[in-house]
Symmetry: C2
Subunit: 414 residues, 2 copies
């Protein structure tokens, strides 16, 4: 177990002792906390049990770097997802050193499982009667799936725009699902009020400071999977700003612990139709809410709540924030599918779309190593590919196949 | 590499040398071959590199038990999926010793990845210009996904009834997708003709004898994950009959190799509306085609082609074949989701539905260990839950939540 030493408000910078506070009592919803541990203790834990020696193949490999006293019992296997290097994808990108972190193979098929697993552990250790969140989908399905495995009641608030595969995954696994008329912000509001009323543990990623801790395991794995090396760039799509904050936390802590002597640059990517963090980063200002308009459902967050951590991560890393169009996102989904067989949802491939754009702009040196997070499975939102696929409708006749093959001008292997 | 020693026709029992034959030239489509290896060689390979000592965490951990000279390069990580035991699920089932083999977390989200990975390896080693199959979905998406990762062209023939998430996953990853007017059998026919015409490798599981070899890795893992013990029962849903045949092959070979001294009983499960193998088993006769009518898309196979292997497996194991209604299948999906967080498609949970029924009938002793294969993810066919889920549509108001909680008569943790 990592001993939490203090919690610092990202807004007013007031410092709190370890406790169950979720947000700064003075700043309210705007005062997201930042978790600091007793790093001396963590250092000695890593010394007595070096990372490379650990047998666990899930995020609880890092239990002594997380705010839990033990892995939550019964939990499905989360994390230790593959880090791939695909020669043909890299050739198509024109960059030799791209690594794909495939978080689509987590139990609920997204990176959010890393955060939910930690939240459920926190809720169980605090003896809460249930756990709740508002989500556009992945955080919710992740919470429903993992709570079911751990035997904790889950209450899920989703906006009415949620894609059906996500809704059904949640509906099958959760204790209660509330589909709220309105936007994500509306669902968030009613979730927060309900959490207060019934004493559930708050798994709203935009507020709960411990979820960033779960998400950091993704980059801890990248570091190990690269042979205990830090990549030059880590590329992450941004909605609330929580995932990118988690990746930065991982590398900062590895430095603090003396495991590494450098950190990567972060490339944060948003959809062109919903880029409040990118705009704030580029214009060196605070984030202001925007209208959200993109097919990338999981990052369609017009009012990101974790923007302070995200901006700090981008700034401290010396990285960059860029946006990509929905067309570029779909194109990246197809590139990743066709050259690598990794089927991502739009937000899951937004990082790759951003990388393509960054490579085109010469932002990344040709010898620099890049890790791209693929954050969620395409099975969660297949409708995003409506109209983008080339499917041949034919009668049951081999001549129809021949006609189609000829019309495509390809031989037997094309 | 395991040296294939001979191939025996399941129908006429004629024996062939290792070669590239897919089916018995005398019996045609009805003459599916059975693969035998040089087991002396395999035994010595296992002796020099015992299973427990192997570091690989994917199906190529068993490369010396497969018909390949090496793992296909570039392939996504297939297999070594978790084997869980869920106390609350087991309590709900009234049986303490149930293990859930979660094959939903394979790269394309189904067990079929095991077969596709081997087929792609065979196609690459044979220098074929592409690979093809007809499929109701999972075999096809698996082939499209894994071929993309390995850089082999894939040609997929699907029936028009295919669910959209599967179609889109295939469409994103495959080289060409042909949606064939008609049934699975129609798609199968045009695929077979096209394979002959263009020289593609034939990944039709109902025909290709090497795919059973890929599927057997699931039970090799179960054996290892149970601490090198054979379960008393292995429960498998049946469509073409290929998966159950693969499981039996695994245990028979472990016996042949001197690793184990017993094999499990098999419980083969079909949907009530499509149970040609169950009927043949119960009535001790050959399989005859039936009309197929079930929500369990992946096992909706009215004319199973691998029935001889399936019946042999059921008979030799001293097991049993039963059928379950669509209502029992949906109920099993929800049980598995709510008590374990494993979200399966209907065919994926059909084995669990069958286990419930078998337990109800007292077919399984209370001390017997059971492994149930969960063969595919619910994200692939969410529409199967239409009408089965309890989702509360509410305005963005905490009072609406309170009314719903009261109407359900539950407190904060219910």
């Amino acid at each position: 177990m990592a001993k939490v030493k203090r919690l610092t408000c990202m807004k007013c910078e007031k410092v709190y002792d370890r406790g169950l506070e979720i947000i700064c009592p003075e700043c309210g919803l705007d005062g997201i906390l930042d978790v600091e541990y007793d790093y001396d203790e963590m250092r000695s834990s890593l010394k007595s049990r070096p990372l490379a020696s650990r047998p666990e193949r899930n995020i609880f490999r890092y239990v002594d770097m997380l705010p839990l006293s033990q892995p939550p019992p019964g939990m499905l296997e989360v994390g230790w997802t593959p880090l791939y290097s695909f020669p043909r994808l890299n050739a198509a990108l024109g960059h030799e050193h791209v690594h794909i972190k495939d978080d689509t193979v987590n139990p609920s098929a997204s990176l959010k499982d890393r955060a939910s697993a930690v939240a459920i552990g926190m809720a169980l250790e605090a003896g809460r009667p249930g756990i709740a969140c508002a989500s556009t989908g992945n955080a919710a399905s992740s919470l429903a799936v993992l709570s079911a495995s751990a035997g904790l009641s889950s209450y899920i608030f989703v906006p009415e725009t949620i894609p059906k595969p996500k809704l059904y995954q949640i509906g099958a696994c959760a204790t209660r699902v509330f589909r709220v008329k309105g936007t994500y912000e509306d669902a968030f509001g009613v979730a927060t009020a309900s959490i207060g009323k019934w004493g559930w543990y708050n798994r709203n990623c935009a507020i709960n400071p411990y979820l960033v801790e779960g998400k950091k395991t993704c980059s801890l794995e990248i570091y190990e999977q690269l042979g205990y090396k830090v990549p030059d760039w880590v590329v992450v799509s941004m909605g609330d700003g929580c995932i990118i904050s988690g990746q930065w936390k991982a590398f900062k802590e590895l430095e603090l612990l003396g495991e590494t002597d450098r950190a990567p640059k972060l490339l944060g990517v948003q959809a062109r139709g919903c880029k409040p963090i990118v705009d704030a980063c580029v214009e060196c200002r605070d984030v202001t809410p925007v209208e959200a308009n993109t097919i990338a459902d999981s990052i369609r967050v017009g009012e990101p709540r974790n923007w302070r951590k995200a901006l700090r991560a981008l700034r401290e890393s010396g990285g960059c924030a860029i946006s990509v169009t929905d067309e570029e996102i779909v194109s990246a989904m197809l590139l990743l599918s066709r050259e690598a067989g990794v089927f991502a949802e739009p937000a899951g491939a937004t990082g790759l779309a951003g990388l393509r754009s960054a490579l085109g702009q010469g932002m990344i040196g040709k010898d620099e190593t890049v890790a791209v997070l693929i954050t969620g499975s395409g099975l969660k939102d297949p409708s995003s590919l409506d109209g983008a696929l080339d499917i041949a409708d034919i009668p049951a006749d081999v001549e129809a196949v021949a006609r189609h093959m000829r019309s495509q001008g390809k031989g037997a292997g094309g």
